[in-house]
Symmetry: C2
Subunit: 98 residues, 2 copies
């Protein structure tokens, strides 16, 4: 049981490695600040299959209420607004019951 949030991102042309590292660094601090996060997995495209997105977040929660705490948490919103949104070319997301 549980509740999963998945978000995939394709970065805009010209996004640098440094900017991508900043995204991962900022997001990786969230589990220490948002105790509702049960598990948090960040990934960069391994380059095995063509056409894939650039970056993935897979976050697991006890239930949808805990996901909503994460979604709307000010520390999460700050990372989105300050470092992620300016780099988004495409974004695909889903939430589902585990």
């Amino acid at each position: 049981s549980g509740f999963r949030h998945v978000a995939l991102f394709r970065w805009v042309e010209g996004t640098t490695v440094s900017q991508q590292e900043e995204v991962a660094a900022r997001l990786s601090r969230l589990p220490g600040r948002i105790p509702q996060i049960r598990s948090y997995s960040l990934g960069t495209n391994a380059g095995v299959t063509p056409g894939g997105y650039d970056f993935a977040v897979v976050a697991d929660f006890a239930d949808r209420a805990d996901y909503l705490v994460y979604r709307d948490h000010p520390d999460h919103r700050a990372v989105l607004d300050e470092v992620i949104k300016p780099l988004i070319g495409e974004r695909a997301a889903i939430q589902y019951d585990l």
Copy 2:
């Protein structure tokens, strides 16, 4: 450690519940046929956050070689060709090292 494959789908307009159930049913048989699948999670959008995709597959493997066995396995390709591809409106995917 390990290697993760994530695929999100948005179905074409007019896709029925029965067609979606057929996708999930066919995919759910793959772990019994492809032993390289370490864990396999299928999910339908919970309807909590607007704009999400309709369906998710999160598949974990020991390494990228095992993922490639899955990707190219004839039983997997048959599900893709016979029931998934005709329903795809949008697809987003990534593979990354765990």
